[in-house]
Amino acid sequence: MIINFKGAKTYIGTGGKSLDNTKKTLCFLHGSGQNHFSFIQQARFFAYKGYSVIAPDMPAHGFSDGNPCKSIKENADWISDLLVDLKLKNVVVIGHSQGCLVALELNRILKSTLEALIFVAGSNEIPVNQFLLDLSKENPQKASQMMVTWGHGIDGDMSINKWPGHSHYGEGNNIMCMNKSTALKYDLHSCNDYSDGIDAAKNVKVPALAVLAKYDQMTPLKSGLKFVELIKNCETHILDCGHFLPSERPVELNSIINSFLSKLK
């Protein structure tokens, strides 16, 4: 659906169902340079499992206009205001990559609204190398291509896909190309500059789930495992794929999320 939010056209994927704010809401937060298409195989799946789903395109991403957020905190404030605007209560936040950092900050802001946190291919820190930071400014398209290549496990290289006929690389590149050209630069800087992750992770009080990727080159497994140690009682799973876990292992991820959600009150 498209709404006018903070004066800008804002797109929110709802998985093909209209939003019902009386239900438990799953809020999917995309990663750097991504948009709601990161969750093609999650949004629709959970919208048809009795949940309300929102997968917003952050400002300047996907179908949303507006100026890109310039820090993780700004991203979190934007989402927090959006939840108020949409009158959503009982929210489970599901972040992928950068979306995990935003989720950690949301944990500080949201009070009773937040029911649980799910971290997909995440960590408490996402340092970005200078080369990629520079390239995201000079040639965002090239930077996107490199991220798509690094971001996938062997399924990317070999054009293996659970979705018949789809290519992770071809689809991934085009998903990133849909964003405004400055979006990636601000996302990567936001990740690189974020340094409150350790405290934020220790501060998680709601039930938490982490699904990490064995061959993640963007937020390496080692870093992800240190991160989950910081969170009290974080249920952790490791899948044999790359960073783009939602499209690389959709069935496994959905099943893990589903059973985690079923354990919530």
Partner: protein, 431 residues
């Protein structure tokens, strides 16, 4: 991880990794119509396109999917869909985008069935086409109307061998937000990858060079993922609510792969031109050697061009790699590895001479196909284009004396000897 494999490697490997259970190195032929569901929930979510997977072979099949994913990788596309023939691919894509009242701009110099579909069949369903010279970007621009929904052409036209200036035409289409759809059968991704030049959708007859051995009919649509279908007034059945799946918007749900998702949910469901898994396997076998074959096709083509150009019995020779071809400069720019292995030539003595030549060669086969590993010949005036008048043939850049040659992979000297046999028969006739 992230090796970014090159074309030759992808031709062999893309779309398949040996599974842990059997270790089968070759892509298994999943000769099945249907797939057991683990639960009712799983079945429901497959039908509802919530996650990927197979439910019925008319819609998708693991062997066919391996072929599709190989094609997507070779073309650099977002997704691909394989179907029963090149013509099925063409019809699927046109019917996915156009509805009654819509308009198409297409090249006037194309394969006979492509022309027929647009000129005679689609108008019965309210979709009309204006045909324009593919070498004239200005004419294409002028032909575009408010209700034009796509521009269609062949990168290398069959059989006239006109070359479309893809980057120029793509710019025009892009500025008007109209998808450029190209039949890339004659070039294959080995010679040219249209998405790199701004095209949006590719259709292939896999029957030809991609399959490469004249053993299986098949087609494919490769979706670049680089087209914005978001205009709900212009593309209501892709971005607006669709009758299938509870008013789904394919564009909002699937983005770069919206078109392929729509074709699977509508075209494959309701028309059903599915590719058999066994044919998918045969076509994939062919693709494994595509780079090797295309190299040799081009090498032999260049040798044959030298031979024909200097032959006393040959009136004219047409191939875009020859400087005399009107599109030679465009060909050099967009097809630097060569412009395919189809050669057109006229034999001194006209229609009768052509007939005598074809009937006396032995190695080259007289048949209605192109892109086989074996050398093939045909006389379009009396076969593929026989339904067209001489004037209509001329409009399509054809003449009565024209022979279309599909250069194979035989030893060049053997092809040459065979052709000499044909020329000798013509000489006798001319005496």
């Amino acid at each position: 991880m992230s090796e970014n494999y090159k074309f030759d490697t992808l031709s062999l490997h893309a779309g398949h990794i040996p599974d842990k259970e059997t270790g089968s190195r070759a892509v298994p032929i999943y000769q099945t119509t249907s797939y057991v569901f683990n639960s009712t929930e799983e079945a429901a979510s497959l039908y509802n396109m919530e996650v990927g997977g197979h439910l019925y072979t008319r819609i998708s099949n693991p062997t066919v999917a391996a072929l599709e994913q190989r094609l997507a990788a070779l073309e650099g596309g977002a997704s691909a869909l394989a179907c029963s023939s090149g013509m099925a691919a063409m019809h699927l894509v046109i019917s996915a985008i156009c509805s009654s009242g819509d308009h198409i701009v297409a090249s006037s110099k194309m394969y006979g069935a492509n022309i027929n579909l647009l000129q005679h069949t689609m108008p019965r369903f309210g979709v009309n086409t204006d045909f324009v010279n593919p070498n004239d970007p200005e004419a294409i621009k002028k032909a575009i109307k408010p209700n034009t929904k796509l521009v269609f052409g062949e990168v290398i036209g069959n059989p006239g061998l006109d070359i479309m200036d893809v980057p120029e035409i793509a710019k025009i289409c892009n500025s008007k937000n109209i998808p450029l759809i190209l039949d890339a059968t004659f070039n294959t991704p080995y010679l040219m990858q249209p998405f790199k030049h701004g095209a949006n959708i590719i259709v292939h007859s896999l029957t030809k060079w991609l399959g490469g051995h004249g053993i299986a009919i098949g087609g494919a649509i490769v979706n670049g993922g680089n087209f914005d279908w978001g205009d709900k007034d212009k593309f209501p059945t892709i971005s607006g609510p669709h009758f299938a799946l509870g008013g789904i918007s394919f564009w909002e749900e699937f983005g770069p792969s919206a078109l392929i998702a729509k074709i699977r949910a509508e075209g494959m469901y309701n028309f059903g031109p599915s590719l058999s898994p066994t044919n998918a396997f045969h076509l994939m076998q062919g693709i494994e050697t595509l780079p090797l074959r295309m190299k040799k096709h081009i090498e032999n083509t260049h040798s044959i061009l030298d031979f024909l150009v200097s032959h006393e019995m040959v009136e004219w020779v047409k191939h875009p790699d020859l400087e005399t071809h009107p599109d030679h400069e465009v060909a050099k720019r967009i097809l630097p590895k060569g412009s395919g292995s189809i050669v057109a030539f006229g034999i001194k003595g006209g229609r009768e001479a052509g007939k005598a030549f074809i009937e006396s060669v032995q190695l080259a086969s007289h048949l209605a196909n192109v892109g086989d590993a074996k050398t093939l010949l045909i006389h379009p005036g009396s076969t593929t284009h026989s339904h067209l008048s001489s004037e209509a043939m001329k409009e399509g850049g054809l003449t009565d004396d024209m022979i279309r040659l599909s250069v194979g992979l035989e030893d060049f000297n053997d092809i040459k000897k065979d052709f000499e046999r044909g020329f000798k028969a013509v000489k006798k006739l001319n005496k």
